[in-house]
């Protein structure tokens, strides 16, 4: 601890002595050819351009764990002020944490939660969105729409993503937790099944549900693709979409178009660019020796017809 305090003191004096010094930040991204990660990377770059004296060195780990660790070591050797890592493998982050700690450089993980997140040293942090928010925002909005329509009871179907996927498990849990609250406990789940995130499977699933003839008021899906699949099945069966509230998560282009067409009622936006900017912010603070929370959450945003136009250019 003494050693860290000393290092921090040295760092602080260094910054004080050269006020408004140029900060050099090394960034290692898991891969460049991922749509979401590209938006995140560009958000970071845009943020840096808006600041004076912040220089980013962004590298592509090409989905290779070993290459990523080498990049981090090279950053340390070339004397960057802080490092931002979007880990290739979240279970291989201890070695990265150790390398940065040994090189006495602040480290910020972005978007993917490192396995050692709860034991990170003081000059390391994790920036992402809290997965528990997405399903909660979605279900609360569906609940609000039901209430606004004056419903005293409502039946819904739940379409889950891939059963082995953490986000799918979490979002389904969120749905169940929201409808267990006294505020929304008038909502009952008729059945929940998986579509494997897949539009075609969701379409087939919804048609199977329709064939039971059971009355329902809404469909809460773990992702937009499944929600759109359900909408297509409802349309094919000539169900009036004004009588059914359909919700998804992701705010994809297809989902926003569906919302514009008056079909999808709710989706949730994960702010990739915001995460990139947030990670840079945390890295700069740590480089200056300031304190940063171990977990920094960039909020998910609820998307409804009222604000959907703000999101069309974002993902």
């Amino acid at each position: 601890m003494k050693k860290y305090a000393f290092v921090a003191a040295v760092a602080v004096t260094a910054i004080m002595s050269s006020s408004a010094m140029a900060a050099k930040i090394g960034v290692s991204m898991a891969k460049f050819d991922d749509n979401f990660l590209t938006v995140l990377r560009n958000g970071m770059i845009a943020q840096a351009k808006g600041m004076s004296g912040v220089e980013l060195q962004v590298e592509d780990a090409g989905n290779d764990v070993a290459k990523q660790l080498d990049q981090i070591k090279n950053f340390i050797a070339s004397g960057v002020d802080a490092i931002i890592v979007n880990p290739v493998d979240t279970s291989a982050t201890q070695a990265m944490t150790d390398a940065a700690a040994a090189g006495k450089k602040p480290l910020v993980y972005v978007n993917r939660q490192p396995i050692n997140v709860d034991t990170l040293p003081a000059n390391q942090a994790f920036v992402a969105s809290n997965e528990a928010d997405s399903g909660t925002l979605e279900t609360k909005e569906v609940c609000r729409i039901f209430k606004a329509a004056g419903k005293k009871e409502a039946n819904v179907y739940v379409i889950m993503g891939e059963l082995s996927n953490q986000a799918a498990v979490q979002r389904t849990k969120d749905i169940e937790e929201v409808i267990a609250t006294p505020d929304c406990n008038f909502i009952k789940i008729i059945d929940k099944q998986t579509s494997n995130w897949n539009r075609d499977e969701a379409q087939n699933l919804m048609t199977n549900w329709l064939s039971t003839g059971k009355k329902f008021d809404g469909v809460i899906a773990n992702n937009d693709e499944s929600a759109i699949g359900a909408i297509q099945a409802l349309k094919a069966a000539k169900v009036d979409l004004k009588t059914v509230v359909v919700g998804g998560v992701d705010a994809t282009q297809d989902a926003l178009a569906s919302m514009k067409g008056g079909d999808l009622a709710v989706t949730v936006f994960q702010d990739a660019a915001g995460q990139g900017a947030g990670a840079l912010d945390a890295a700069l603070k740590l480089a200056k020796g300031e304190k940063v929370d171990r977990k920094v959450y960039v909020p998910f945003k609820l998307v409804t017809p009222a604000n959907m136009n703000d999101f069309i250019k974002k993902n």
Binding site: D33, D34, N35, M160, L163, D191, K192, Q193, T194, N198, R199, D200, Q203, N204, L205, T207, N208, W209, L210, S211, T212, G213, E225, G229, Q232, A236, A237, T252, Q253, D254, L256, A257, K260, G261, I312
Partner: protein, 358 residues
């Protein structure tokens, strides 16, 4: 050996319903599974699986359920018709699911509209408007081209390099999936033209599946192509000696299979109004499972298109039955796996007892 000794006499006496209609076992299995869901439904759900119990619609049967049973297996069913021919001729095709993915992405790129809800198509692959709003024939011809390229490559690899079909088509499976991801770096391609959406709308996938099945049933039963396929699958050397051009035939079989996968790609992307790089994942295994459940022998030479269609229906009944019973999603895959293996084990027993009986 018993069969050869018994000779023509046994063949004469075995002209029962079973030998005229070898798919009878599969049909019985289908009926048994439907009956099981009907009984379970009456007991546990207080509802009928097959019959209409609703007051807001008319008719004896639950028509919507009958439709979805076949609709949800039609697209994989189209692939299964092709895979059946490959397996009968002694091969295997693992690439069909990935060919669906790659073809859907490529064909859909040429089937996009320029305007969506009054704003430019946000997923347009080509920037210039001259590539948008093309006539529907363009994506169809391009899809056919994709099928031919994939199929000729598969067939030529199997026929001339002599690598096992499992490996050759595994290579195509990985490569084609790579292509489908590379085209847009994983982004979906959506919003097709009006004409393109008609191909897979409503019950069209079923119409296409059944037409394709009837066509290839006739071809496999009555043409030289069909007879050669069975001959090569039963005994390749004997077929070669009797003058069949085995290499050419193999290329033709794999090309037909890949073209049917390409057709499935058009139907699935039209039905869903989108093409995505992950489309068709696992389709090849579902298609093979349908064929095998339908009595197609993985060692070649035996099976039929009718059997595969019945196998597809068993698949559809199981999926709808599970949802009807509201079986927990976590159990569904386990039970599905057990049913696939169980069907083949039963088929093997049936084969053995038949050959023992002579």
């Amino acid at each position: 050996m018993a069969a050869t000794q018994a000779g023509p006499i046994s063949r004469e006496s075995d002209r029962s319903l079973k030998s005229k209609f070898p798919e009878l076992n599969v049909l019985i299995a289908l009926v048994v599974i439907v009956a099981t869901f009907e009984i379970l439904g009456r007991v546990f759900m207080g509802d009928s699986f097959l019959f209409n119990t609703r007051t807001d619609v008319t008719g004896l049967f639950n028509e919507q359920r009958l439709q979805i049973i076949i609709l949800q297996v039609s697209i994989v069913g189209i692939i299964a018709v092709g895979v059946t021919q490959v397996i009968i001729s002694g091969g295997i095709d693992l690439s069909s699911g990935s060919v669906v993915g790659a073809t859907a992405m490529i064909a859909m790129s040429f089937a996009q509209v320029s305007m969506v809800n009054g704003s430019p198509n946000p997923t347009a692959v080509f920037k210039g408007t001259e590539w948008l709003d093309l006539p529907v024939l363009v994506p169809l011809i391009i899809a056919l081209g994709c099928g031919i390229i994939a199929g000729v490559t598969n067939g030529a690899l199997v026929a001339y390099t002599r690598i096992p079909p499992f490996i050759a088509t595994l290579g195509m499976m990985v490569t084609a999936r790579g292509i489908s991801k590379w085209i847009t770096k994983g982004k979906p391609i959506s919003f097709p033209t009006e004409a393109y959406t008609k191909i897979g709308s409503g019950m069209m996938p079923v119409v296409i599946f059944i037409s394709i099945a009837i066509l290839f049933h006739l071809i496999m039963t009555y043409t030289k192509y069909g007879k050669h396929s069975y001959a090569i699958g039963s005994n390749e050397e004997a077929a070669r000696v009797s003058g069949i051009k085995v290499e050419n035939h193999r290329i033709l079989v794999y090309t037909i299979a890949a073209c049917l996968a390409a057709l499935a790609a058009v139907v699935v992307s039209s039905k869903n109004l989108t093409a995505q790089s992950g489309m068709g994942v696992m389709y090849e295994l579902d298609a093979i499972a349908m064929a095998v459940i339908g009595g197609v022998s993985l060692s070649g030479g035996r099976g039929s298109i009718i059997g595969t269609v019945l196998g597809a229906l068993i698949f559809g009944v199981i999926i709808s039955g599970f949802t009807f019973m509201r079986l927990d999603a976590y159990y569904q895959e386990m039970v599905k796996g057990v049913i696939i293996v169980g069907a083949v084990v039963l088929d093997q027993w049936r084969q053995r007892s038949r050959s023992l009986r002579g």
